[in-house]
């Protein structure tokens, strides 16, 4: 009791000291305002130059290969959930978007000023009509709704975001490049792509090809297999990092993974599990991951090296809702750390 009390006193003192330092800093900053203003002016000038360089109308080739001319980006409807985080980072706020499909981490998820077009299972096109967009960024879960989106906003430029021919990493880069062109954020796009490449290189350097990896999808108390070629969740990292699959069997591409007997997982003896936990996205408590409980609780998997060394990487809880370049960079960072730890 006394100990905790003393600790809290120390903590209080620490906070007070920190506050003092901070306030000192801010007042010091105030005196340098002239210099800051100047640099702001420079920034403004750069921005002006950038927007002048790509003033609307802009003609781009979208992911489906169509030439689209965008008259203005005054009102943007976005449905592809892989673009939410990027656009949020760039400050391109949509007027309509399926907020239902957004990660709770995204500040837009609770933003009532963005009209919610609902989930792909139950889209609400009235909101698109109300938003009267000039540009529609459509794809992924909404890919089958492209026609309806266009009908709801006949004058809008429809940018399709689907291209099955590209590998996931090629796609991620092409997508960010395209978004950069559409919203005049080429420099930001280039920086983001650089960041992605660096993350890939770092993770690759940390990985030892002798380590066999298996992708898993966990959901509703079941452990499923995510195949290394095109399975949901894990496959992109198999491609990017040349991971050695513990079991190279062709499976389905669907979002649930393949039903596989727990024996087959155990028999392939993986050194590392790369797990997409579908339940984590919906459970409010971000601390506990049902996937870890499920995998560690399994008697059949107890002898597998991945479990014995706890070489299990569970993707971020909202990965299932984002699957964007930021999520990739996040996972790559996590993998790099995990690979280094278990080398």
């Amino acid at each position: 009791m006394t100990l905790t009390k003393r600790h809290s006193t120390f903590a209080m003192a620490g906070v007070a000291a920190l506050a003092l330092v901070l306030s000192g800093c801010s007042s010091a900053g105030g005196s340098q305002s002239a210099e800051e203003q100047q640099s702001e002016q420079v920034d403004q000038a750069v921005e002006d130059a950038a927007s002048a360089e790509c003033a609307y109308p802009v003609t781009v080739t979208d992911m489906a290969g169509n030439e689209v001319t965008i008259e203005s980006a005054d009102s943007v409807a976005v449905t592809d959930n892989r673009t939410f985080a990027v656009l949020n980072e760039w400050g391109v706020q949509p007027t309509a978007a399926p907020r239902t499909l957004m990660s709770p981490q995204n500040s837009w998820a609770e933003d009532e000023t963005i009209l919610d077009t609902g989930s792909h299972a139950e889209p609400n096109f009235d909101q698109v009509i109300a938003a009267d967009p000039t540009v529609i960024i459509n794809g992924y879960r909404y890919r089958d709704h492209a026609e309806k989106m266009q009908e709801a906003a006949p004058d809008a430029a429809l940018v399709e975001m689907d291209n099955a021919d590209l590998s996931p990493d090629e796609y991620a880069i092409a997508q960010v490049t395209l978004l950069g062109e559409v919203f005049c954020k080429q420099d930001e796009a280039a920086a983001l792509i650089d960041q992605f490449h660096t993350a890939v290189e770092d993770a690759k350097a940390a990985y030892d090809p002798a380590m066999t990896v298996m992708g898993l999808v966990t959901n509703a108390n079941e452990i499923r297999y995510s195949n290394p070629a095109d399975g949901r969740g894990a496959s992109i990292f198999f491609n990017l990092l040349d991971l050695t699959p513990a079991l190279d069997a062709e499976g389905s591409t669907n979002h649930q993974g393949d039903d596989i007997s727990i024996e087959a997982i155990a028999e392939s003896n993986p050194d590392f599990f790369l797990v997409l936990d579908r339940d984590a996205a919906v459970t409010s408590d971000g601390e506990t991951t049902p996937a870890l409980e499920l995998i560690n609780g399994s008697t059949a998997l107890a002898g597998v090296p991945a479990v014995q060394n706890q070489a299990i990487y569970v993707m971020p809880a909202d990965y299932y809702l984002t699957e964007d370049i930021y999520a990739y960079i996040d996972v790559l960072g996590g993998l790099q750390q995990a690979f280094t730890e278990h080398k």
């Binding site: 069997a249 649930q256 007997s261 399994s298």
Partner: protein, 346 residues
């Protein structure tokens, strides 16, 4: 043939179960024990096959493959036995209580109600254990089935086909509510995953709750005569001194426990309770007391065969047993419907 034998067996069965057995005792031992012996051999062979089917080599004692015998194979086989026997039994009990051959937990909505209970636990207490989920599934299954029974008593339905149709509609409404809630809470795929019956993840530590249904099965065997009486209708049952309402309540309770436990541990096993009791009564008539072992055995056979198909056709992957059962079951269902039209059974 079975049709003609049906009605006399039913009437005498109430008091004369013993007489039938004495009569059969006069037959030659081979005729008396032959089928039972064959069935036992067949069951043992099937379960043996189930134990030896899988990815790991369980004869390999050196490499640790044999560990899987107790970790996955035996548990999986036990799970097949318990869920197959109990769901077939649940179908049988429901068919007696409703006096309708097309009624079973998946055609009356019991499973859908159990699923709704499960879903609500998932939404409000996502971190709760398997027991809470099971409890909710059982309670919801019970309430839902009682609502259906109350409806049946209010509206006297003459046609035997209308009852399951009403039941399926009832189930569809409940499942629509579940789907709505699931969409709202982003649980649609979780709901689907829970519902698909599969034995894929069964291993030590995951199947144990299924032992509960063993107790339920034992109770049904003990109470077989009462359910048979209730199966003759409320008037007859009351005449022979049975508290009809209590028997119905007990029957629905036992069916709900079975359905709840099996739905949570394994998932939905469609049509099982429908196919099995009908197959058995086509061959043997309608004496519950002597039929019940056959219902148990046939239930085990059907589930085991379906699961063996499911785990071999696309190995190392598996097809959920509910998918195989659904395909087989719907064919049997249609055949039965056509047969009913022709001979006016039921």
């Amino acid at each position: 043939m079975a049709t003609i034998a049906e009605s006399p067996t039913r009437v005498t069965n109430v008091t004369a179960g013993r007489v039938t057995r004495r009569y059969s005792a006069q037959q030659s031992p081979l005729r008396r024990y032959g089928p039972a012996l064959l069935a036992t051999v067949f069951t043992v062979a099937l379960l043996g096959l189930s134990v030896f089917t899988g990815v790991a080599d369980i004869t390999d004692t050196a490499g640790g493959g044999s560990d899987f015998l107790w970790i996955t194979r035996i548990p999986r086989t036990v799970a097949l036995v318990l869920s197959g026997a109990s769901m077939a039994m649940a179908g049988l009990v429901m068919q007696l209580l409703t006096q309708n051959r097309f009624v079973e937990p998946t055609t009356v909505g019991t499973t859908e109600w159990a699923g709704l209970g499960l879903l609500l636990v998932y939404v409000f207490f996502p971190m709760s254990g398997l027991l809470t989920k099971m409890g909710a599934a059982i309670v919801f299954g019970f309430v839902g089935t009682m609502i259906f029974f109350a409806f049946l008593q209010k509206v006297k339905l003459k046609s035997s086909l209308i009852v399951p149709i009403v039941g399926m509609m009832f189930g569809a409404v409940v499942s629509a509510i579940s789907t709505f809630i699931a969409i709202r809470f982003n649980l649609l795929q979780t709901l689907g995953a829970w519902f698909a019956g599969r034995f894929t993840g069964i291993e030590v530590g995951r199947y144990e709750p299924l032992w509960i249904v063993l107790i339920v099965c034992a109770l049904v065997v003990v109470l077989a005569d009462r359910f048979t009486c209730a199966g003759l209708g409320k008037d007859v049952a009351t005449n022979v001194g049975l508290n009809y309402e209590r028997v119905v309540l007990l029957g629905v309770g036992l069916v709900s426990i079975t359905t709840g436990v099996v739905t949570v541990v394994v998932g939905m096993l469609p049509f099982l309770g429908l196919i099995v009791p009908n197959l058995v009564s086509m061959v043997r008539g309608d004496n519950l007391r002597t039929n019940i072992p056959w219902v148990f055995l046939t239930g085990i056979w059907v589930v085991t065969i379906c699961d063996l198909i499911g785990r071999t056709i696309i190995a190392p992957f598996e097809v959920p047993v509910s998918l195989v059962l659904g395909a087989v079951g719907s064919v049997v269902f249609v055949v039965m419907l056509l047969r009913t039209r022709r001979t006016n059974v039921g």
